[in-house]
Amino acid sequence: MATYRTCPRTGLQFDLEADKLMRWNAVAGVLWLLVGGITALLVILTRWPAIKLLPADQFYLILTAHGIDMLILWIIFFEMAVLYFASSTLLRCRLATPKVAWVQFWLMVVGGIMTNIAIFQGESSVMFTSYVPMQAAPHFYLGIILFAVGALIGCGVFFGTLVVAKREKTYTGSIPLVTFGAMTAAIIAVFTIASGAAILIPTFLWSIGLIQSIDAQLYRMVWWALGHSSQQINVAAHVSIWYLVAAVAFGAKPLSEKVSRFAFLLYILFLQLASAHHLLSDPGMSAEWKVLNTSYFMYFAVLASMIHGFTVPGAIEAAQRKKGFNNGLFEWLRKAPWGNPVFSGMFISLVGFGFIGGISGVVLGTEQINMLMHNTFYVPGHFHATVVVGTTLAFMSITYLLVPTLFKREMLFPKLCQIQPYLYGLSMIGLSLVMMGAGTLGVSRRHWDMAFSGAPFQYEWPGAAYLMMGMTGILGVIAVVGGGLWIGLVVLSLLFGKKLDGGPVSDKTVPIPDQTVAASASATGSEEHVSVPGTVVLALTLLTCFVLYYFVNWKYLSEVWGLS
């Protein structure tokens, strides 16, 4: 029999089992973020040409660990907590099969540790992508497989909880938008994990000698159905969190439910296919295949992101204008709670993801232009703007809400909490920009030595490339400080923060109390029309930057050697 507590500050109701699972998953995520952050510092200090900290073998080992621990372990552990929150907490129902959910947790813990052991033993420095025929130790692949099975179980528990809520009638009508977004993330996760199984299980068998060889091109195609789709889980998850923060911080409603939800559906329908944009400079695919996959399939997903990029600030603007912040185009934004890290982090995440990550991603994913950037430092520049500024910062910002409500602790050092999203978000945006700058000048990703020591010839990168790499070092260190600050604040608050009342416990679900974070604004009826001119200006600014940058790159392309 499930028992619940109702948080006295927010009105959110937690199934106590789900409560514990969320806390453990989130803590596991934060610990992996710590490992990922330490490895980030080592990577940065090695790529900073003036420092070049690690020898080559250690650098590649640490870089592999950084990719796996950040992109997989930190993010997916946190996403499991998000899934349980979006289902059991927001739908105010019990979590389906909590015992099975613990299998999710422990499989992911065991898998994560196993893969890390393989990496740190030194025989698996194959990078996050582990492209064949380069081979890692068998337990490198096995750990990822176990982790993925765990994540799949987590998705199953999420779907089961949706069924429980429906059957036990804990809500009427449609599920909330945030839950809907989390559901799209979970659906994409199932596809992602299936693709992962299709490639990692054969690769594991190959590593123990049961399969003779795996075609390099086939591997790349199937692997990216895992590698890119998993980023799409992140996008669906962090966009859901944007909507959640807009609702929590402003009482904002989406401009229209239909548009926002349809945009989530576009993610399910199209972005997995857009994994193809990782293969644009590959030999094995035809130009028709590349154009089809980048245009029809990817651009519908881009459309979806452009829609969210409009509707999230639009919802905030509408809510603010209703409260009377009606002067000029941007009073609603100026008078937003910039001192509240839940909001400031979310908004930096939104702007950074759209302007930097989004635009660079589409340009990078254009068939011919890809040749200017493929495998250069531009690529990690792009995805630090999407996965770090977008996903990680959104997760960090929502944590400022979760620590009091879920962990029942007050955040320590509120002034530092206020600064942290700016320190981390802005330095990470700067970092992404200089990384892309270095990539535009040709600097390679995953490369230990810009000076090519030991090579039979010399090649001198332009001075600007060294400048960009130096700035990468400086901004990267600042970003690591910003990320470390968040970890420190969260961990110290969990250990030493003032204990807060967890609220009354009962074995029955209770109705949503009025005037709380959880309270419904839906009683007021559908969103009345509020014009959002500020958001229109922001969106058109984004589009202008997008168009200019897009055509600048065609111009660059037209100047290189002829290729046909």
């Binding site: 449609s174 904002a252 829609i307 495998n375 090649y459 839906s522």
Partner: protein, 179 residues
């Protein structure tokens, strides 16, 4: 707080769509179509498109072809390692092997002429990154990719490997001369 709670209209697909959203969706859609047309347009009128000419091969077969090409066209050797500099016949075919950890051989081309350069990897995956031009092409074992290239300016160009290929990755630097 409607984003975290069920919408008041009960069923989301019955909700109306705000006009301003239609406006933005239309703009975003048109922009997506323009981006689609650009790629197709560039295939018709652009001068930088990645070749579709690809053959399945094996490292042994490709190495044999490259050796034959080197034997017939070498004009000199360079460095202590006696790396052959091979002049690709004007408008002809050249071979470039990517292997741990070098690009082999050195190619010599002429500006303004078009060459068919065959690329393949002998072991791991590699990345052909021509600098400072900044053209980047994935090179895979088992695939012989025939890329038509037309150098624009005379000079000495470097081929950086930009797909991680192990501990000596950073020493994998090749060279192309354009006369």
């Amino acid at each position: 707080m409607s984003a975290i709670l069920p919408p008041s209209e009960r069923l989301w697909w019955k909700q109306p769509i705000a006009k301003i959203e239609w406006f933005w969706i239309a703009i975003a859609f048109v922009w997506a179509m323009i981006m689609f047309v650009m790629m197709v347009y560039w295939h018709i009128n652009g001068k930088q498109n990645l070749s579709n000419e690809v053959y399945k091969t094996t490292p042994e077969m490709f190495a044999a072809k490259t050796e034959k090409f080197i034997k017939e066209n070498t004009i000199r050797t360079e460095t202590d390692q006696q790396i052959p500099v091979v002049k690709v016949p004007a408008g002809g075919e050249g071979y470039l092997m990517a292997r741990l950890w070098n690009w082999y051989p050195i190619l010599e081309l002429e500006a303004g002429k078009t060459y068919k350069i065959h690329l393949s990897a002998m072991d791991y995956q590699h990345g052909f990154s021509l600098q400072p031009v900044n053209i980047n092409i994935q090179v895979l074992p088992g695939y012989e990719h025939v890329v038509k290239m037309t150098p624009t300016k005379a000079g000495t160009y470097a081929i950086v490997c930009n797909e991680y290929c192990g501990i000596g990755h950073h020493t994998m630097l090749g060279r192309i001369y354009v006369k």
